[in-house]
Symmetry: C2
Amino acid sequence: MNIGFIGLGLMGTPMCKNLLKAGHTVTVWNRTLAKSEALRSDGAIVAVSPKAVAQNAEVTITMVTDSPDVEEVILGNDGVLGSVKPASVVIDMSTISPFTTQKLAASLQERDVELLDAPVSGGVWGAESGSLSIMVGGSKEVFDQCQGIFKDLGKRITYCGASGMGQVTKLVNQIIVAGTLAAVSEGLTFAAKAGADLDAVLEAVSGGAASSWQLENLGPRIISGDFEPGFRVRLQQKDLRIIMDSANNMNLPLITTPLVQQMFRVLERTNRGEEGTQAYVKVIEELGGVEARRSLDQGTE
Amino acid sequence: MNIGFIGLGLMGTPMCKNLLKAGHTVTVWNRTLAKSEALRSDGAIVAVSPKAVAQNAEVTITMVTDSPDVEEVILGNDGVLGSVKPASVVIDMSTISPFTTQKLAASLQERDVELLDAPVSGGVWGAESGSLSIMVGGSKEVFDQCQGIFKDLGKRITYCGASGMGQVTKLVNQIIVAGTLAAVSEGLTFAAKAGADLDAVLEAVSGGAASSWQLENLGPRIISGDFEPGFRVRLQQKDLRIIMDSANNMNLPLITTPLVQQMFRVLERTNRGEEGTQAYVKVIEELGGVEARRSLDQGTE
């Protein structure tokens, strides 16, 4: 298929490679040209603008950071809207506001172009291995037509409903991810303050009602002091901001989520935006004057 | 072995039956006599007081609700301390304050009696099937001696360190359980407010970074409107109170946990103390004027 791909960041680049590997013709654009050029050897065609990407594409994929970025590459000067073919499809795989998605879908529909919102989870590793979870909103018929592309990129592919519902589902994912991590962080800091053996605590509370992906994957990193990013503080903070903007739009009060967002804001303010989200524990630790680390005399596994 | 067992509630009764099945001689006491009498047919010997339970026991187990209850059955008139044999062991399997545990351990040590704190998780089902998780604090040597009893009652048995560390570990478990549930509740309410298909949302966010025991077990109950107790609001609220008391004792500030506790307090105040903890979602739903239930036209599986 003739695919346009806009946004070659940590996620976009490996996703694009998987589309090339699957045999698609892929035309790419990225704000920083060097990242486009790097894909030439994989077979990508390099375009000079989002508009140039879209002009021959049956499907144009956008994978950028935030709502304004998607608006810019679709509605801006030299944007997709300036050349996109009637009856083609735009798939936005960025995580952005569902309200922005609905606005963009309306603009594209005026040109007889359908927009699917299809944000992903699974991180860079999921993008590289083609095992992303993909949450899709928009026309069910168009979703069915695009199944092949989704299967080239991910494993758990869920149709979530009308336009914006893919984004809503991704935001739900991020509410739960962030809140679960906050609970894990407070639990481990409590254990450390009480002088507990953190390995024993992790062992005891894993596998039961307290178990979670966050606990089992990030708990061991926290107690060994590993704050390398799986998912960055800066991006989690961005997603929580979109969540709170959306909740405000819906007049929905939330209780713990905004507090978790503020704690992530503390992390960003103190220059930890590029660390992994497990650095959340550092805010709680600093409040309590204690570190939730394995004692050196308990070995390092 | 000659075992004394104090406290025959929803947890204590099946635990006691498992000890009887394993061939131990078990002498029981409960505040409400009828619950002791009910165990006669299983082979239990009924005693008239905690003191009478302890006088011939090699191991005395207490399984009551709260810190003052344990203090009463051990230190009170007709309490265990009045008759307990030197070199015997007391195992407190209630979930109480680690500070109370350490105080009781000191009192018992004056009589040459060791106290293990051994709170459990796994609920009534775990108690019945002998598959509880047991988190043990106290002397390692005494822990090793009591392994046989623990194995009659549970599966995941973890030695957590000195006296009180079993309780600390259980409280960590409860911090994480409650905070994870709060995150799941806010996520599902957000989804409902946005008009999402809740089955699709659950399907999409399970199995990835948002996955947890709470999401996978209580999420489906929430969206089908099932608030039957696995673990009761009243007991979760009690555990959170002990957590906050302990955090205060340690001068440890926590951020989201006390807020979650206040939400559970709202549930208790509004007469939902006997519902399952998943009723947490109702507070968030009522704030937002929406219910996170599967639409009737989406079927009921």
